[in-house]
């Protein structure tokens, strides 16, 4: 292969007799003879180890992060393409084993506490506002009415809160209903194309919802004001995990690491200049990682050889290099009705979980690589990101903490750390939109969305 041959030529061309640092240094420095090390070009295991060591040292000594990434991604070989949004059965169990992730149902308490002031400020009025909005919303078509009715009721508890910025639940609800009604009722749309329902209505609704909510909450959360908003970005990550024997081809019989690549396209993404705070400690153990004995191709997962990409949505020099929240929209293939028709109801939640785990792992790991960590230089601080996975009506929330990048065969041996993913089940935001009203609006989902957007480091 051209890549390996070129690398070999580079190896021979370099004067490595005196300059390369050797791993085995049993000789004292005043010896007349050079240190005795394994050969670099023989077809032996020691030689292979020495070549690997040399490669690791080259990456460690790289001048910049772009150079490190370039060396890490240089060798192209067939790799498994991991799709976060997949129809495969029990995909979340397989993805957890590929990424060494523990899944903890339910959201961590930190996320609730981070927006605790928001909770306190709106705790007194949710009951009142719910009744008020429930009466008003079905009756009136214009969303300005709930907006004006609720703040009068809601402004009364404000003096009790103090200096915290106040969150108006009614206003937020009206913003959401505005966006919903605009897409579903007011705007005259033609029939959606075949199997492209999701990009017809729920897609624009999600974009509108998140941009208006983020703009509204940016005075409460200064991190959002300094954030960068990506529409339909690309997130990629390439990693090795486990070993296998090559089956066909001229490299038959050799032991190779198993390579994976995630190429993800979230619907929306918010990137921030400061890292979100850690949820639990780096070394915490909250569960078990499933062990899968079979080859990944039995999932089914397929191999292809193409460019190894590591990308978070922007290049390395961008100041907003940490992730805050991703928003994923399901395509038509993964509709709820399809699973119910095929009598696979238990796979509905699996799809949400698989998407959350795979996308967030790729994003956080790519963020870590952008800071210079890789599987030989493991992360020293945890990387935290959030994601909301939806199909337009049902929302599921996920939090991910990346504690380790070391997933290759040598580095995983003495590594007790595991990555952790917290997630909820999918809940509907509303029941139905008809005749200009939103029926059955669910405040919990809105509250969790607001909490997610308000999440910020403690110093801000």
């Amino acid at each position: 292969m051209a890549a390996s041959r070129g690398w070999r030529v580079l190896w021979h061309g370099r004067c490595w007799f005196s300059q390369t640092q050797s791993t085995v240094s049993a000789e004292p420095s005043d010896s007349l003879y050079p240190p005795i090390v394994a050969s670099a070009t023989a077809q032996s295991k020691a030689a292979k180890r020495r070549r690997l060591e040399h490669f690791h040292q080259r990456v460690h000594a790289a001048a910049s992060i772009e150079e490190k990434l370039r060396l890490y991604r240089k060798l192209q070989r067939p790799k498994y393409m991991v799709y976060p949004q997949t129809l495969a059965l029990n995909a979340d169990r397989w993805y957890r084993s590929f990424t060494k992730t523990v899944f903890v149902p339910g959201l961590p308490t930190n996320v609730a506490l981070a927006a605790g002031e928001a909770q306190a400020s709106i705790a007194s009025e949710p009951a009142k506002a719910l009744e008020g909005a429930a009466e008003v919303a079905p009756g009136d078509t214009k969303a300005s009415q709930p907006g004006t009715a609720a703040p009068e009721a809601a402004r009364t508890p404000e003096p009790a809160v103090g200096a915290e910025p106040y969150l108006d639940m009614g206003e937020l609800r009206s913003l959401v209903c505005d966006a919903l009604l605009q897409e579903n009722f007011y705007q005259k749309k033609k029939r959606p194309f075949l199997y492209r329902d999701q990009e017809h209505t729920p897609g624009p609704f999600l974009t509108q919802l998140v941009s208006t909510l983020a703009a509204y909450l940016s005075n409460c959360n200064p991190l959002l004001a300094a954030s960068s908003f990506d529409l339909n970005p690309e997130v990629n990550y390439y990693w090795h995990h486990g070993e296998e024997v090559v089956v066909h081809g001229h490299r038959k019989g050799r032991v190779d690491p198993v390579r994976f690549q995630i190429d993800d396209h979230p619907h929306l993404q918010i990137r921030v200049p400061k890292q979100l705070p850690e949820i639990v400690q780096l070394e915490s153990d909250l569960g078990d990682v499933p062990v899968i004995d079979h080859k990944p191709s039995k999932l089914p997962l397929f191999k292809k050889q193409y460019e190894n990409k590591v990308f978070i949505g922007s290049k390395v020099a961008d100041p907003c290099c940490y992730g805050h929240t991703q928003f994923h929209l399901f395509p038509d293939k993964l509709k709820r009705e399809r699973f119910i028709k095929l009598r696979l109801e238990d796979q509905i939640e699996v799809v949400y979980r698989a998407n959350g785990i795979a996308s967030l792992f790729a994003w956080t790991a790519a963020q870590a690589m952008y800071q210079g960590f890789w599987n030989e230089a493991d992360v020293t601080r945890p990387f935290v990101s959030q994601a909301v996975v939806t199909d337009g009506k049902y929302f599921a929330f996920f939090c991910y903490q990346l504690n380790t990048l070391a997933l290759t065969v040598e580095t995983i041996k003495n590594n007790p750390r595991k990555n952790i993913c917290w997630g909820t089940d999918s809940k509907p935001l509303y029941d139905v939109v008809e005749d200009g009203h939103v029926k059955g609006f669910n405040d919990e989902v809105l509250l969790m969305l607001v909490r997610f957007l308000l999440n910020r480091p403690k110093e801000l």
């Binding site: 129809l87 495969a88 059965l89 004995d293 079979h294 080859k295 039995k298 089914p300 095929l342 009598r343 696979l344 796979q347």
Partner: protein, 156 residues
Amino acid sequence: MATRAGRVVYPLYQLGGPQLRIFRPNFYMLAVRPGVPQPEDTVQFRVSMEMTKIDIKNYLEKIYNVPVAAVRTRIQYGANNKRNHKNQRVKKPDYKVAYVQLGQGQTFQFPNLFPEKEQDEETRSFEDYKDKYLAREKQREKGDPRRGGVPDWFGL
């Protein structure tokens, strides 16, 4: 049922009418032991080349009441390299392989069709005696080892 002499004439079937004939598919599915380890919920079948994934799913669900979650198929090409005594190429037949993932959390392990039989004392001792006898006969046929394989009619 059709008789050998003549055919029974059934009235034309119209929707809602009495169903006097049962149509069973002419397909056969053969469950095989997988060559490479498969996940616990996956069963491997050899099916007819004309069957589709939907056919396989309906076949298993309606005839055998097996809940099927997913089916994947592939066609295995039979090699055409062997030659017969006339140096013509002999083809091994192609066949379709179906990987069926069972639903409702069911698992399947292909059974061991040839387990080791539990032998009692008499049979074991008889087997040992038989082996020893055969070994002795073979040794006798070989002849005296000191002659180095030379037959015994050779000599003065």
